[in-house]
């Protein structure tokens, strides 16, 4: 390779971005060509100048702050803030009523095509409600543990209930 060509590869050489069979040739040329050596040293100078900068460390409670923010965000997305004031069991009761109504009505809404899909949806709501009713309404601790098996609304209320709880099912994805 000629001088001009090598001069254009000095930076890639420094960054370890040239093919290994070219490395020796470039290194040898730099060592013997004052102009290329100057360029190499100038570029290396920039790197060592930048590398002199100090690092910063994560602040204390970095992780804790992230967890707190995660839960704050979830609460903010919780559209009806008033629900926070209502015990989770009341939310659940409303939800059960709503879901039951939906189960009764949905086959009529979707009469015609898509009956299977709506039946499936209704079944999954039904099973979620039943699962949660049996072990959560009377046992708030079990209610939180259930999160992830239940439906979106369950999940939301379980997070509203305990701000430090990170939803195992990633309930935040239901948000918005």
């Amino acid at each position: 390779m000629k001088h001009e060509e090598i001069k254009g590869k000095i930076m890639a050489f420094m960054d370890g971005e040239v093919k290994s069979d070219l490395k020796d040739e470039i290194a040898q040329h730099i060592a013997s060509c004052p102009q290329c050596l100057e360029e190499f040293e100038a570029l290396s100078g920039v790197d060592s100048y930048l590398k002199n900068a100090g690092e910063i460390s994560p602040p204390a409670y970095f992780r804790e702050n992230i967890v707190r923010k995660l839960n704050e965000n979830k609460e903010r997305r919780f559209e009806f803030n008033i629900l926070k004031l209502i015990p989770a069991s009341a939310v659940l009761a409303v939800f059960v009523l709503f879901a039951s109504a939906l189960m009764i009505v949905s086959p009529y809404i979707y009469a015609g095509d898509g009956q299977d899909a709506s039946k499936q949806a209704a079944d999954s709501v039904k099973s979620a409600v039943i699962t949660c009713m049996t072990s959560s309404v009377f046992a708030p601790a079990a209610y939180a543990a259930l999160c992830g098996k239940c439906s979106e609304n369950m999940c939301k209320s379980c997070m509203a209930k305990d701000p430090n709880h990170i939803c195992q099912c990633g309930g935040h994805k239901h948000g918005k």
């Binding site: 960054d15 971005e17 570029l43 790197d47 100048y49 930048l50 100090g54 460390s57 970095f62 965000n73």
Partner: protein, 188 residues
């Protein structure tokens, strides 16, 4: 399988311990990357938090299509760019943190301290840091992102290209122009 991808898939499956491990591994690099990119020590901490919050929130939909770090640095870059836009809009485009201000106040106080040598060293170090940070901030955003990823994060051109969504030759040219500009600046 890539260890980080495995951690992301664990997180997706609901294992929050995986999130802690990712935070431990990448908390510091991401804070420093954002700091070099934005020039603000204080805001870098908040922006790094936002980055990991995005990672957490994206976990349910995570698919192992790209290298994890590529995706992570892309999120951090976008968050930094948004922040720089907001700062620009507020009419304060390249401000460094208050604590960086030299010349009077903070450092003089320290120098007046009994332990003069230490204080001087600290002040010199801080001044040097500020000078480097100013040099970085003098570069256009895309050159700055590219050279920070290269020098401090030791990424390959290919990975920088993937983070920035540009071609490898484009990355090479960005880094080249950044180094030339800094070279002239150092000479002065």
């Amino acid at each position: 399988m890539d260890e980080d991808i495995k951690l992301m898939l664990d997180l997706k499956a609901g294992n929050n311990t995986a999130f802690n491990l990712l935070l431990e591994k990448y908390g510091k690099p991401i804070i420093n990357y954002i700091y070099r990119f934005t020039g603000s020590k204080e805001d870098a901490k908040d922006l790094a938090q936002d980055t990991f919050i995005k990672v957490y929130n994206a976990a349910p939909n995570y698919t192992a299509s790209a290298k994890f770090t590529t995706w992570l640095y892309r999120i951090a870059s976008n968050i930094s760019i948004d922040y720089l836009r907001r700062r620009k809009a507020s009419g304060n485009p390249t401000s460094l943190d208050e604590e960086f201000e030299t010349g009077d106040g903070k450092f003089k106080e320290q120098i007046a301290d009994k332990n003069i040598r230490n204080a001087l060293e600290t002040a010199e170090k801080a001044e040097k840091d500020m000078e480097i940070q100013k040099a970085l901030l003098s570069l256009p955003e895309n050159q700055r992102a590219a050279i920070v990823l290269k020098i401090y994060e030791e990424k390959s051109y290919a990975e920088i290209a993937a983070v920035m969504g540009v071609s490898v030759p484009a990355v090479e040219s960005l880094i080249f122009r950044a180094r030339q500009a800094l070279k002239d600046r150092i000479k002065r």
